[in-house]
Amino acid sequence: MERPIPIPDDVSKPFWEAANERRLVAQFCVACSEWQHPPERACAECGATPLEFRELSGAGTIYSVHVEHDSRVVVMQQHQPYIVATVLANESPYAVFLTNLPGTSAGDVAFGKDGEQSVHIGARVAVEFEEVGAGRFVPQFRVVS
């Protein structure tokens, strides 16, 4: 899937290096004993630095979801309609990831409690990695039954 290629910065570099090794990591604040993702310079809650990058299991649940039909992200318009789901890692509700839910399509999404579709809030997901360039990967999540 052609998409805007993420450019690591000094804060996110360990995250993308791990992703390129097909590992999902997130920042962990030792002071709070709590995770946070996306990464920031300091713990967003207590301000502690530095933060450790630790490996996550890659399992999570869908917090919510929507479908883009008229996106402003120009590179992604060719894929419309496409899903953007918000996933919370099993380890923490503060480790928050977006995903396009590979293996599903827009018609699979349940909005509210109006359907039997496979993509719904609370559905379990597992991480996988999508190659976006030579040796470069971005995390995605797939619905697991």
Binding site: R3, P4, I5, P6, I7, P8, D9, S12, W16, E34, Q36, H37, P38, A44, E45, Y63, S64, V65, H66, V67, E68, H69, D70, S71, R72, V73, V74, V75, M76, H79, P81, Y82, V84, T86, P93, Y94, V96, F97, L98, T99, N100, A106, V109, A110, F111, G112, K113, D114, H120, I121, V138
Partner: protein, 421 residues
């Protein structure tokens, strides 16, 4: 109670005409529209330019939403330029630009803020409460150029950097995407569907046709039917095009004065009885606007507002609640305590929230019904209603109104009244 309650008033209001796009003439430039709106606000209350001792502008633009464009020489020549800033007066209007071009000679304060009009108005109110100023002009100019809103800059890049590494890279499209995900969570939590939003949408679009200063009454006075609404094309499902506010070019201005000065001016003062501001997103997952986080934050914001005024939700005659996109309205109805969590979509029926209803909401149509004013009109309409000047939209006996402008968590609110309390 807030120490400033009843001591400050909105004394004057001004509004430009609306345009879908700038047509690149000097007289319809953002600077010209801002001057028109400010002059209208001064004329409305009868103040002279040299009696204004403060200006606060939310100058715009929403940077990066439009591509680069040449600044036409004829437009530049029509106004005094701010040194070193060719965009001023075109894509934005700063306090400095306004002071130069309107001849505001007695200023003690000239501030520009990045906030929306709700928080900018609160800043002006605080300037008057503190005694730093007696008469402050509040300005919000809003531009809309050729091209598609937001299809530029970082959104058009082949790479995703900064926060975009974790959002744009997955095609997340900005605030409407955030609100779509927010609304899915709302629908799921309370067992609703998008179609349950139809009554609110139809009420706002119908109210908008009664609003003489709004875009649709001025340029596209066509009724929206339920069938059209339900068949509306999705922008970010579950948000469709009729849940979104149409971008336009507009400017609005307000004159905020001491209550004492306002009583000597031309209009009946609209008193500021209470104010509250959002805390700005902070803490873990702050940029996510999780429904549960926003419910806690906005309930707290509403409680600060009620406490500052010593007035509760049962004493309010109408509510102008931010509605861009429309899905914010049920969230705000609930967090401001007008009904219980999960019940707002039933609450949004004509008998309850229509102009003749028990608690009218957005009687001029909101941004969805009257065009994207980024909250200018939420305040402008509240003043008209409290003065009894809202024409065919007038709410009978309106004496206390609440205004909320902004996104979840980061909004700002005012409680306005006919009486000082």
């Amino acid at each position: 109670m807030w120490e400033g309650s009843g001591k400050v008033a909105i004394a004057g209001i001004g509004h430009s005409p609306t345009y879908r796009r700038w047509d690149e003439r000097a007289e319809t430039s953002l600077g010209a529209m801002a001057m028109d709106a400010v002059q209208a606000a001064l004329d409305d209350c009868g103040l002279e330019a040299d009696e204004v001792d403060g200006v606060v502008s939310a100058p715009g633009p929403l940077s990066g939403y439009w591509g680069p464009r040449p600044v036409l020489a004829a437009v530049k020549a029509a106004f005094q330029q701010t040194p070193g800033d060719a965009e001023d007066g075109i894509s934005k209007v700063t306090a400095e630009w306004l002071a130069r071009n309107l001849g505001l000679s007695a200023l003690q304060v000239a501030d520009n803020t990045a906030g929306m009009i709700g928080s900018v108005l609160n800043h002006a109110i605080e300037l008057v409460v503190s005694g730093r100023c007696k008469a402050v002009v509040v300005l919000r100019p809003l531009n809309n150029f050729a091209g598609r809103y937001g299809h530029y800059g970082a959104n058009a890049a082949a790479e995703a950097s900064g926060t975009g590494q974790f959002t744009t890279a997955y095609g997340h499209s900005g605030f409407v995407s955030t609100m779509a995900t927010f609304f899915t969570r709302y629908l799921w939590t309370y067992g609703k569907t998008h179609a349950d939003l139809a009554d609110l949408a139809l009420i706002e679009h119908a109210n908008g046709l009664l609003c003489d200063y709004g875009y649709f009454a001025q340029h596209a006075p066509e009724e929206l039917t339920r069938e059209q609404y339900l068949a509306g094309r999705w922008i970010a499902e579950p948000i469709n095009i009729y849940d979104c506010d149409l971008p336009m070019q507009v400017a609005g201005a307000f004159v905020v004065t001491t209550a004492e000065l306002a009583r000597d001016l031309r209009q009946h003062p609209v008193y500021v009885r209470g104010i509250a501001g959002g805390p700005r997103a902070r803490g873990r997952r702050a940029s996510m606007y999780a429904l549960e986080d926003a419910q806690a934050a906005d309930t707290a914001l509403a409680n600060r507002l009620w406490q500052s005024a010593g007035i509760g939700p049962l004493e309010v005659d109408f509510a102008n609640l931010y509605d861009a996109p429309l899905v914010l309205v049920p969230h705000l109805i609930e967090t401001f305590g007008f009904c219980k969590p999960g019940e707002a979509l039933e609450f949004c029926n004509p008998e309850q929230i229509g102009v003749g209803g028990v608690l009218p909401i957005n009687p001029w149509g909101g941004n969805v019904g009257a065009g994207r004013s980024h909250g200018i009109d939420h305040i402008y309409e509240a003043v008209l209603q409290l003065r009894g000047q809202a024409g065919g939209r007038q709410i009978r006996g309106a004496s206390v109104g609440v205004v909320h402008v902004g996104p979840p968590v980061n909004g700002a609110a005012q409680l306005l009244g006919v009486d000082a309390g």
